[in-house]
Every structure is written in C-alpha cells, then in structure tokens.
C-alpha cells in the first residue's frame, strides 16, 4: 500500500501525516482529558492522606521573582521536581524528614513550567524555607563565599537591585510550599 507513496507526493504527505497524528493526538491531546490531576490544584486537609496544604497562585512579587528565574536561565541548571526516587526525596528532605514526591497537582498554575532537564545545581522543588534572606543575599552575590567549589554564576545585579532581590527570594521561598511537609512549620523566612 505504501508503495503508492513512491510516485505520488500527495499520497506520501497524507500517509506520513496520518501516521504521525495517531501518536501525536494520543500522547498530547488525550492525556490531560484522561488524567484529571494535571489540572486540579493540590488540596488536602487530611493528614492521614499525606502532607496537608493547598496550592495557591503566586502573588505579584513571587511572580516577578519567577520571571527573573526565567530571564536569568536558572532553569538550565536547576530542576524543580522531586522524582519518585528515594535519593530525590532524601536530597530534597530536611533534618531527616524525607520530602514528599512532586505531583502534577502542585504545578497547575505554572507557566512556563520549570521542571528542568539538568541538575548542574541541586533540585529546587522543595527549597522554599530552606535558607533565610541573608543566606540568599550572600549566595547570589558570590556563591563561592558560602559554598566552596560551587560553580553557580554570581548574580551581583540581582543583589544590587532591592526590588529584584526581594522578588527572587520571595519566589525561592514559595517553592514546594503547597505541601506543608516539614514538622513544626520549620521554614526560614
């Protein structure tokens, strides 16, 4: 049958589009229709079912910080997903408490999504509340002042711009906070 495509350009184009669109539609259009958790914001008030909390939209300042994160390309070096790997939940964890795994319902308002592909630096999906503002100030000015051997670039222009600095820190502190997973509300400001 595909032999026809040897001599007919329109036939070849039609056949390649049909074959392409089967997979195309089944893997892009169908999944969000089938899996409701992709679009339903996280909400849980029952501790028996896991960490409690509620996903809310970011406020103005946090959104501004997020835009800076996009502009500066932080997402080329940092992922934002605690995967279903034990090592990930340990590394995102805090004082011996494992972090909960990232679920689709925690990212419903994200655009652009910032899951990332490369971990040149650590995953940031649960970094909210890990460090205080002073730590971030020093770290952004020159990461090597705090962490020997770091290869994160310095961001003096963020620290020197009070508005931008406030915004990026507000965004950092928001990460992973839909799920209230640390015992005793132990989050840095």
């Amino acid at each position: 049958m595909l032999r026809k495509a040897d001599n007919s350009a329109s036939w070849a184009v039609a056949a390649s589009l049909v074959l392409f669109s089967i997979g195309g539609i089944l893997t892009t259009v169908v999944p969000p229709l089938v899996d409701s958790s992709w679009a339903k914001p996280f909400e849980n008030s029952d501790p028996a079912k896991g960490p409690t909390g509620k996903l809310t939209q970011l406020n103005e300042l946090q959104l501004q910080g997020r835009a800076i994160y996009v502009r500066e390309g932080c997402w080329y070096c940092h992922t934002q997903q605690t995967r279903t790997l034990l090592a990930d939940t340990k590394r995102s964890g805090w004082k011996g408490v494992d972090s909960p795994v990232s679920t689709p319902d925690e990212f419903v308002y994200d655009s652009p999504h910032l899951f990332g592909t490369k971990r040149t630096g650590p995953d940031l999906s649960r970094v909210g509340g890990k460090y205080d503002e002073q730590w971030h100030r020093t770290h952004f000015r020159n990461p090597r002042d705090l962490v020997q051997g770091s290869i994160m670039p310095p961001y003096p222009w963020l620290v020197e711009n009070p508005q931008e600095f406030k915004a990026i820190v507000a965004y950092m502190q928001s990460l992973g906070r839909a799920k209230n997973w640390r015992p005793n509300e132990d989050y840095e400001q």
């Binding site: 392409f20 070096c77 090592a87 999504h113 290869i151 670039p153």
Partner: protein
Amino acid sequence: MQEQLSRAEVAGASAPSGAIVHEDLSAKWFLVSAVSYFFIVGIVALVIAAKFVWPDLMGTIAPLSYGRLRPLHVNGMLFGWLLAADMGLTFYLIPRLCGVKLWSEKLGLATAGLWNVIILSAVVCLLMGWNQGLEYAELPLALDILVVVAWLMYGGNLFMTISQRKYPAMYVSIWYVMGTIVWTAFVYLTGNFAVLFTTGVNQANLNWMYVHNAVGLIFTPVGLALAYYFIPRSSNTPLYSHKLSMIGFWSLAFVYVWTGAHHMLHGPISQWLQTISIAFSVMLLIPVWAAVYNFFATMRGQWHQLRENVPLKFLMSGVVFYLLTCFQGPMHSLRAVNAIVSKTDWIPGHAHMAVLGAFSFFAIAGTYAALPKMFGKPLHSDSLANWSYWSFMMGGLGFFVTLWLGGFWQGWQWNNWAIPFIDTVVALKPVWLVRFFSGILMFLGIVLFSYNVLATALGAREQKA
C-alpha cells in the same frame, strides 16, 4: 525500477538533468549564512564550557552570564547553523533529484534573508534575557511567527519543485524532505504556540513532545535525507535497498512522536504515559537499524574509498554516531538506567553525539560535497578538509566519552544521598576541564571547515570577476 533510478541518479547518467543549469543561489546563501553562525556560535559554546571550569569568568556582565549564553548556544547551533545548512542542502538536492530547477530562486533568497533576520534578532533577544522559559522554544512569539512564515516559504518552494518533477518515482531523500516539512510544521506549532494555552504538567508534556521531535522529526529526517543522497553519491554506489529505506521511513513516521514523556520519567507525570513513552522509545530501534543497515550494506566492498574521500568519512562516522546515539536513547528510557543518567552530564554527551556527531557531520559532508558542484570549481583545500575531520572527530569523541563517564559517575553519586551535593559538583571538575579542551578541538574543526567553505565561495567570486 527504483534500483535503476538510484543507479542512474548515481552515475549522473540521466541525460535530462545534465541539460539543466542549477543556479543554486538559495542553497549558497543558506550555506554561507549557516557556516558563519557555526563559527560565531562555536565561540559561545567555548565560553559556556569555560564557565563550568572558571565560574567567575565574565560573571558580572548580565548578558554574558551562563543562563543567557546557554540558550544562545543551543538555538544558534540548532537553527542558525544546522537547520539553515539543512535547508541550503535540500535546496541543492531536491531540484537535482527531481530533474528540474528550483521552483523559485527569488523566493528561496527571500527565505534566506528572512532566516538571517530571525537569527540575528534571536541573538539580541536571548542576550537581553527575553526568554519564554521553554526549552528549544525560548524565542519570543514575534520571532516564532516569522519562523512559521519562513518555513511556509521554504516548504512551498520545495513542494512546488517536487510537483514539477521530471521523474514520477521519488527517491527516498524526497520523502524524507517532505516528511520534514510537514512534521516540522506541526511539531513547531505545538512547541511554540499550543504550549502557550496550557500550564503545568500539560504544558511540559507538549514541550517535551516538541523538544523530542525537534530532533526526531526535524533533524533526523532531513539528516537522513542528506545521508541517503550523499552516501550513494560520494561513493558512486547505488543504494542497497529501496524496500529497507521504506521500512525505515514509515516506522519513523509512526513511532517517533509517542516518546516525548520519556523526558519526565520518574517525574510528576502519569505513570501510564511514562510507560507508553518507554515502549515506543525502544521501538525507535526499528527505523534506526533499518537506515543504518542500508547505509552499511551500500558501502559493502567500498570501504576503501574512505581513505581518500572526506565527505564519505564524515558521512560514515555520522552513521556510526547515529547508531550509537539511537541505541543510548532507548536505553536511557528504561527506568533503571534512567534513574542513574537522567539530569546528569551524560545527557549533554548523548545530545551532542546526535546533533553534532550525526546530523552536523551529515551537513558538513553535504556541504563539502555540494560546494564544488555549486561553484563549479574544486574545494579550496582537500587537506584542510581532512584536518577538519580529525579535529571534529577527536574533539567530539573526547567530549562524548568524558561526559558519559563523568555523567554516569555523577548519577551514581547522586543515588547515594550520604554524599553532599556539592561534593558531586567538585568531583566533576576534571571532567569539565577535559570537556573544555575537547571543545577547543571541535572549535578548531569549525574554523577549518568554515574557512574552507568561505575561501571556496569567495574564490569562486574572484574567478568570475
């Protein structure tokens, strides 16, 4: 019948095509622009490799910080160099395979002009940090629209050429080019427009569909179109099997698009979708092995030609890299392997083997092979071309192999959470240093290649004047 077609095509025996004088203006402009961007973006590549070793390098200048230069490197190489070179080479080979002139050189030149406007604007946008935040789709919307316009101009021109062809039967390369044109349209629209109407995991899913298929349904088919054309051409041997090339083409058309979600294995995306993407990733071996077997079988008894023939060296090394990279891909998608290599430095090693080792090698080979025909004079220097091969090869191997070893080791360390993260950064420093020096070798290859191309082109100009 097909067999004969390829034989006639190869021997250049087809009388009608001999009567046609191809102007190749569009091809030339695309190639010259592509080669210039290859050189410029090569410098950016070296800078970001250096930043891994010396993180404070140019560190206080915002437009030159890592997060601004990395997208410039990726977009510049993909769209400024590789896609532009592929477009130029298809402007060269489609008219020849169809036995007619390009439908409109004027339209082709306008496309080349528009493409340059897009790339130069992209450089400004990315340095300014006007980034949409989606991988491979960083460019602002206005530029995305221009890309679509340019693509319609390019595709329309080639389809008109194909519809006027002398020979009813179409050689494999023509299908691959047609496939590239139509798939790219859909893949690009998904990745740059449809994503804007979605958020979260849904958006990520579309984004990965696009990212994966930018390689799988843009660079792969057009790269294979070049390989199917230039391997028989450069070795003066007919293609081994038409049937096998059909199996390769139609399985590619069906299988590739399913695999996007393998970029989110273990991540926050539905398990069943992950499993589908794994199954289809493994099936990718079918189109790959079909094409690779065909190329190897074509070369049977002809391997001695590799010694003297630089385009053939690039082509067959490209085929080997294609085989390897497409073996890695399905293996990475297996959950157990993915848990080690995902998000590590292994991945850039893999990606560079595909885009540099396979598809850029095909484009470089095509450029070396087409240049003398287009300009009607021999290449400026065959020996420089040979040197460029060895620089690319040594640099490339150094790059791939160190990043695999380093990345695997890094993934191993990450899975042992007793090791603090920063120790895994420090452990990789020697790897990044070797990567930087491999990069210098690769850049040397770019310099030799682009010098040779420009010298051939400019020399041709002088002769005319």
